[in-house]
Amino acid sequence: MSVVNTNQRQKIVIVNTGCANISSVRFALERLGVEVDVSDDINVINSADKVFLPGVGTASAAMASIKQKGLVSTLQSLTQPVLGVCLGMQLMVETSAEGGFQGTEDIGCLSLMPGHVARMEANGLRLPHMGWNTVTHSNESLFKGIPQDTYFYFVHSFAVPEYEHTLASCTYGNAFSAAINKNNFYGVQFHPERSGEAGAQLLTNFVNL
């Protein structure tokens, strides 16, 4: 890990989705030496140089929180780089199969790019997919300087299958999207804030976009 240049004056904003992993994302960015705001204020989010969309829990609860805060159209019209983390990534596509415990209907997400979140088909492997797993990628943008098959930390039972917007892949029973990208919108299924040096490098790469 290279040392962060503290002269830089980027404005980094974590969208306060009302979800629980906001602190760990903020701390990870602060370890890189950048200043971070956590906000659900539309003006603050719009004026950010980089935006983080964190999230843990269920898609239905997170979308309800985002709607209640009136942030849907704000997030959809952002043009600066946006990074969704874990559930935050899953919210970036069109629909998710993850409702409550007994939920059966798809719920609508932010539609920042095409795609659907489905329950993982892990070929009999245990769910949640929890722990450190290897990621393969195209060695561009977010993954610059990160070797193939580097381990990242995952915790999830739902995933976006591999498709045209897959930026990196992971395999657990079946291959799925470890990272996705369309235009300025990026998402990672794993937790870079909990993935050691490789995670810190990915966050650095995002801040450098």
């Binding site: 890990m1 992993n21 701390f27 269920t58 415990f101 610059k144 450098n208």
Partner: protein, 270 residues
């Protein structure tokens, strides 16, 4: 390939890391934050912090250190101890813990598991189970309030039945503390863990009994657990995590490797 996890466990009392033998006679090991940092740097895949007095004393886990740990370490960690409500869990998750583990409060109020699942998601709901092999009845029995010897009591549950119950309520991971083995370093209870594994479809973490590297090899190979938790062998430097992982890798147990980043890696642009 998903790696098996090596999980140092730090038992916490009054803001210090402590360790007893078979849940008794606790001695102070050191301060929480530097120890957490040290384990993260040494190659631990995850950390667990148990406030062992919390449930017994009817108070919630002292929270300030959770945030201090979250600030310094870059691997996942789980906090246990006296989490009795959605609000208790929320405070700890908001301070940066990745998972919360509940034990006695789940036995007292199993509905709490469903509620935690529905609000925070299955991924952060860990159920800790203290299981004792009763030689007289030849049964595995679930105990509660094990942090305080004077209040430790048998629950009405047999271990396999409770394992099934907590999964049906939305548990995302189970840590099985085999009380007969705890702190004595004679090896994990592979027999019990194998039996539990058959009934457990979520990640299962073995706890209690690690004394040497071969114990880890045995429990991963024979009981197919997802992680192995240990305390004293790490606190007392009996086992070095890098050596442990090298030995496990050589024995075909998948372990996380820490890759060096390439020359392309760079810091934040000016």
């Amino acid at each position: 390939m998903l790696a098996k996890r090596i999980i140092p466990c730090l038992d916490v009392r009054d803001g210090k890391v402590v360790k007893g033998v078979q849940f008794r006679n606790h001695e102070i090991i050191g301060d929480i934050v530097p120890l957490a940092e040290q384990y993260a740097k040494a190659g631990a895949d995850e950390l667990v912090f148990y406030d062992i007095t919390a449930s017994s004393d009817a108070r919630v886990v002292d929270k300030s250190w959770v945030s201090r740990i979250a600030q310094v370490i870059d691997i996942p960690f789980c906090v246990a101890g006296g989490i009795k409500s959605i609000e208790d869990a929320g405070r700890i998750l908001e301070m940066g813990a990745d998972k919360i583990s509940i034990n006695s409060p789940a036995l007292n109020n199993p509905e709490l598991i469903n509620a935690l699942h529905d609000v925070y998601g299955q991924q952060c709901v860990v159920i800790g189970i203290d299981s004792f092999y009763n030689q007289d009845t030849n049964q595995y029995e679930v105990y509660k309030f094990t942090g305080d010897e004077s209040r430790t009591q048998k629950s009405q549950w047999q271990t396999i039945d409770w394992i099934k119950e907590v999964q049906s309520r939305g548990a995302g991971e189970i840590v099985l503390n085999c009380m007969n083995q705890d702190g004595v370093r004679n090896g994990y209870d592979v027999k019990q863990l194998k039996a539990v594994r058959e009934a457990c479809n979520v990640p299962l973490i073995a706890s209690g009994g690690a004394g040497e590297i071969s114990h880890f090899t045995d429990v991963f190979q024979q009981a197919d657990v997802d992680g192995a938790l240990a305390a004293s062998v790490f606190h007392k430097n009996i086992i070095n995590i890098d050596e442990l992982k090298a030995e496990l890798t050589a024995n075909g147990v998948p372990m996380r490797k820490r890759h060096g980043l390439t020359a392309q890696a760079e810091g934040i642009n000016p």
